[in-house]
Amino acid sequence: MHSVTAIVVAHDGARWLKETLAAVLRQTRPLDRVVGVDNGSRDGSGRILVEVFGAGSVLSLPRSTGFGEAVHEVLRRLPAAPAQTQAGHPQGQVREWLWLLHDDCAPDAKALQAMLAAADQDPKAAILGPKLRDWLDRRVLLEIGVTVSRSGRRDTGLEPREYDQGQHDGAHGVRDVLSVSTAGMLIRRDVWEELSGLDPELPLFRDDLDLCWRARTAGHRVLNVSGAVAWHAEASARRRRRVATSDEHPRRLDRRNALFVIMVNLPFWALLRSIMRNVCGSLVRTLLFLLAKQPANALDEVVALGSVIRHPLRLYRARKARRKGRKQGYPAVRRLFTPPGGAFRRLTDMVQSFLAGSGPVESAGRHHAGAAGGETDQDDGEELLADAGMLQRVFGNPGVLLCLVLTAVTLVAERSLLVGDLSAGDLLGGGALTPVVGGAGDLWRLYAEGHHAAGLGSDTWAPPYVAVLAALSAVAFGKTWLAVGVLLLGCVPLAGFAAYVATKRMIPYRPARVWLAATYALLPVATGAIASGRLGTAIVFVLLPVYAALGTRVVAGSRRAAWGFGLLLAVGTAFVPLVYILVAVLGALAAVSFGGIRRGTRTSLVIGLGTPILLLFPWLAELVREPGRILLEVGLRDPALADPRLPAESLLMLSPGGPGVPPFWVTAGLVAVALAALLLRRDQMVVVIGWGVVLFGVLVAIVVSRVTVDGVPVWPGAPMALAATGLLLAAAHPAYRITEFRAAGGLRRLGALLIAAVAFATPVAAASLWVKSGAGGPLRHDVPDPMPVLAAVGSADGQGTLLLRQQDGRVAYTVLHGRAPLIGEGDLEPPDDDHRRFTDAVAGLTSGRGGADVQTVASFGVRFITVPAPVDPALRRALDSEPALVRMSLSQAGGLWRMAHPAALPTPRAADDSRHRAWLWAQGGMLALVLILASPGRTNREEEYGGADVPVEESARKDRAKRNRAKADRAKADRAKADRVRA
């Protein structure tokens, strides 16, 4: 025979209380007694309780009372149940039950009945709990009993947002669990008293676990009854009301209590292991939190651990109180723990979700299923249609298809560039691209070393793009040729992909995005950059759409986007310094226009534009000293690669001139469409901004293309690409109107078709011309290795090989050291004095005038002289006539001479590179910091997106959606219900 007393504890829960109380009174198994407790509510909860239960059954307690205390208080006043409340059960020994209910937990009408039935089945069952479902989405499972991992983590064993389809219902509707929540907990009064109830040491979090654990240890059973359902709003956990039991931060409290409960309930040996585990685990998590830019979380983690360990006395007292049966009961408890792999899985999940951009998800205010409740996957349906197969999903995506088409076009057009005879030592190079040799290690060394042996020897610091390339090479398995090949030769599909993805938030109309991406990728700038081997422009070309996308967020005031923007801008600037100026001017304009409107815009812009300056500082300072170099880009400087007399129509049609550029009319369709976009009045703002960028870009291109730096005309690729970006935005943004026109029918429909045809003419024409003419140009994939094998084998460390090449009446030379020069070695500057002396000596040597020139050359450590084919007869004669040179070979491949009397190697000067080393460390540190600040972490929406405009909110939504997907963590990182606090 049962006697059930329901105890409803309310604290500012008027919103839910009525329904809860109604549900309590509607039970099919009527309650014997009901008691309401009002913990100092200010919203009238107490009044509602009195209305429903009557004033006699309601207890009013101060506001700071905890849930456990409230129950204790009730029991202190509640007399034992009358021995025989109902006649007709003569043999019935009354078992008195307490049904603990939160104010936001509405049980199903049959809940009590089902639980009592289960209790009847199992006489050892002392604590029973209903299956908890979500208050709002009534099918979503919240809890079916809770367990804990050895590291103290609560674990419901559910996926987030799992629907209840009976999948977790145990055999006979009962699950043997470690603990159940206090929301709807049905506990035998005698057991409660035996265990002295909820521990007042734990006013909040994990009190339920502690109680159930003790019950288990005492030999009772804890059951979750599937037939009993309660709907729980988790009001406190979801911050629907203030939690005010403790001054401490709930997150810290939660962690502290978790550790505390584990430590007091585990037997001694398990405790030692657990301490070890928790100390290590906490440190790792702290580190991850720091990486995820959640210093508060990290602090909480550390402080929680510290506060448990710091009070051994308290721990000892609590352990003493629980000593009885702890060791004997432990096996029964242990099998209900989270399986051992769980911790590791959680860690990997955490790292994954961190990488996916949602941050480690175990923090206050998150409750497994509900934290992101109400979200659907609709807004990222493009990426994830729940049931589509992987293939269908990938190939049904127009972005992927676009990339495939662009890749195919690129492969066909670059047919001559892709196949190189690797066995013959052929290299990719030509135009502005130094033949690609070496690996990531060589580039790192070049970047880090203080004194370079390359060339004539130099103490200048290697330019920062070397580090970027080294990093990229490291990603490409240490193979620089792979990295350069993918970036340069794959620039078209990469740019297409970047443009497609980057415009996602700016241009909702997908065909327009496809058109935009295709047109952008096939711009004359791209084909020209490939043909002339301009690695820098290729990289900037891929980055520009990303700049545009991040730029909108920077203008909107996003800090994280600003750091990322700064980092990427630094990369682009390292390759093409002009990009920085272009972006800076546009940024300044944006600051003037939006700075006053949006909060944080200025700070973000300063971050975005300041980061490159900090990261590239000494190099930029050098650039500023020689402003002409700002206009040049990475690579060899060949005057033939740009046209100093670029016709005006080419400039206006975004054709930068030089090799590999289609006729200027290719982009006519694009310009026409963009002009037509000016006629639309609805999206005028974007179109005008786009055209503003176009005019700015073209103006810069015109100015820049008329400049010659050190005899090398400047190639206006970067400003052209910028102008093209603006043009494409202006044209593509209002493109959705096409559908309206088409729907309108008649002349408008015809016009729409015409516009579409004109628009698509540009990418189609560009692609076909490119395929027809091929991508080759000065860039080749069969550049012979300039370093003769004989010389490479024969020269000792530090000995050089002088390479001479007669080109249109002049002799160009370079000194090789054991291998062809690396990308970036050409930018090192030898001391002026040496350089002049050596150049004079080489000139003398090549003239064949005899004298001491050979000795001078040899004194720089030159051991061999190589002249690649075709060997100029005069040059050959000059070298042959030099008595101090011995010819080693002369063939179709070129000639090689050896010094008859190699001079002693010059002793490398001890370079003072402490400054360089300091700078490298500083740069590395700054880079790490920027990376951390730019990398996705948990975002605080309130702060970051405060004044966000539409795209930003979309981004936030996307973040949230991603977070939904980052599963498991959240579920398992569940904390104790804050509801109980004063519920």
Binding site: G455, P647, L695, P778, G809, R810, E825, G850, S881
Partner: protein, 504 residues
């Protein structure tokens, strides 16, 4: 303004105006086409010269360095005079077949053989009759003696197998040399090789006979240690060719090569012929009666037809019935031009589709004849020096100058062995003509002299040869040599340090 913006076409008009302005700016700003100035090579004086006289025994060796920067030398007016680096000297040393090769090369090293002579007076001809026997001699000059150093050996014998005048320029060691002349079947052809350098030379000899290339293992892999010299009878390598082109090349190192031909009717050294080229000019054919025979070799893999045109006193034309020669691949063809150019000073211009080398046999007159050889040569753009000129009652020296392509103007300066230097002589050669200039030193300065030929600014390419003859009772002794580019100046090309040099 507001109206303009609110009008549907207002923005379009604004943008179009802006674009037009940009177009105008770009159009106006377009720079005029710049003529790409070819970087000019800078003339620089030669700083060191070393040449090897192949077999000086019993000959007269002449060594001369032209005087520097004196008089109205147009070349030197804006440049610093050659050899401005204070003093210098030329040293004559025997090529020394020992390990101390370095010493032999410069003549200065410790333990090296005693120099035969040291010359330190530029502008003055130095001559010495060498005793018979002994190996080749290196003439090494540096400093002020270097620019333009010219050296020659000339043998004169009035009887015996060696009867005749036989002169040769002392050769600069090199990696590749071509000779064209009679083959070992009809003459006694001897190849003199000398290695005056510090590194061993690996010499190969290739012979292109009238029937095609002669494949012989013995001509390959002749190793000359530093300081070593050798004379090779070509008959041992290839007994059969009647005519031949000879290529001496080295795989490693450098060699000084010279070829002496002893025919039944005369003796002389073969001059070094210009390397294979599609246009070859054979200059220096004297206006002396006698047989003239042209040898042309196409060392490549293709048969060819060589067009032959003569540059004579009266014009530049193809000879009747002797317009072209068929030259099978890898072989040497001959053509008798006696009836075409015999007795008149001439040069020949040979053109072909494939590179060819050419030489000519000049036979003198008289009861007992002597021969001389000339060969394809370079234009003397930077001037030329001839070390050995003689003028006496019986001996005549002459220059045969040709300007096949454009009018030429040269300045000829005679440097006598002693006495004052006479005023230079200006000679112009009309385009497509040949001129013969007899060389006479001023009275009282002895019979021997050197000649400096300097093209004047604006002159077209001038080719030439020097012919030395001596009439004896039983016939004319004769020797000839094409004018070679003097080692006064070299062109120092503009040189840049450019990593782009690694790109083809």
């Amino acid at each position: 303004m507001k109206g303009l913006i609110e009008n549907r076409f207002g923005l379009l008009a604004l943008v179009l105006v802006a674009l037009a302005a940009l177009y105008g700016a770009a159009y106006v700003g377009r720079p005029a086409p710049v003529v790409q100035r070819q970087p000019q090579a800078v003339k620089a004086p030669v700083e060191a010269v070393s040449v090897v006289c192949p077999a000086p025994g019993g000959t007269r060796i002449s060594v001369v360095t032209p005087p520097h920067s004196e008089g109205p030398d147009a070349e030197g007016s804006d440049d610093k005079g050659p050899g401005g680096k204070g003093t210098g000297s030329a040293t004559l040393t025997r090529v020394h077949a020992s390990a101390e090769a370095a010493g032999a090369k410069t003549g200065k090293g410790g333990g090296s053989p005693k120099p035969e002579a040291v010359i330190d007076r530029p502008g003055v001809l130095w001559q010495r009759e060498m005793p018979a026997g002994g190996g080749p001699i290196t003439v090494a000059a540096s400093g002020s003696m270097a620019p333009g150093l010219e050296s020659a050996q000339t043998a004169r014998d009035t009887s015996g197998t060696q009867r005749g005048l036989a002169g040769v320029r002392c050769v600069e060691p090199g990696a590749d040399a071509w000779f064209v002349g009679p083959g070992p079947a009809g003459a006694d052809v001897r190849l003199y090789l000398a290695n005056a350098d510090a590194a061993p030379a690996d010499v190969s000899v290739m012979i292109y006979s009238g029937e095609g290339p002669v494949l012989s293992d013995r001509g390959n892999g002749v190793i000359l240690q530093p300081g070593e010299h050798k004379a090779i009878e070509l008959r041992d390598l290839a007994p059969s060719p009647l005519v031949m082109a000879l290529r001496v090349s080295t795989g490693n190192g450098r060699v000084a090569a010279a070829v002496k031909v002893v025919l039944r009717k005369g003796v002389d050294w073969l001059p070094v012929a210009a390397a294979p080229s599609t246009t070859v000019v054979v200059p220096g054919i004297p206006g002396i009666a006698g047989r003239r025979e042209l040898y042309v070799t196409a060392p490549g893999e293709e048969d060819t037809v060589v067009q032959v045109k003569a540059v004579l006193k009266d014009g530049f034309y193809a000879l009747k019935n002797k317009e072209d020669v068929d030259v099978p691949a890898g072989s040497t063809a001959t053509m008798d031009l006696t009836t075409g150019i015999g007795g008149q000073p001439a040069a020949l211009v040979l053109t072909s589709d494939v590179p060819i080398v050419a030489g000519m046999v000049i036979t003198g007159t008289g009861a007992v004849q002597d021969v001389a050889f000339t060969a394809g040569a370079q234009p003397i753009d930077l001037g030329s020096v001839v070390a050995d000129g003689r003028s006496s009652r019986k001996q005549t020296s002459r220059l045969v100058l040709s300007a096949p392509f454009a009018a030429g103007a040269v300045q000829i300066r005679i440097l006598p062995q002693k006495g004052t230097v006479p005023k230079p002589m200006e000679v112009t050669v009309p385009a497509g003509r040949t001129r013969e200039v007899k060389l006479k030193p001023p009275a009282g300065s002895g019979s021997a002299f050197a000649v400096v030929v300097q093209p004047q600014p604006g002159s077209g390419p001038v080719y030439g040869g020097r012919v030395l003859d001596e009439s004896t009772r039983d016939g004319l002794l004769i020797t000839a040599q094409p004018l070679a580019l003097a080692r006064i100046w070299t062109l120092v090309p503009p040189t840049t340090d450019s990593p782009a040099a690694v790109l083809p």
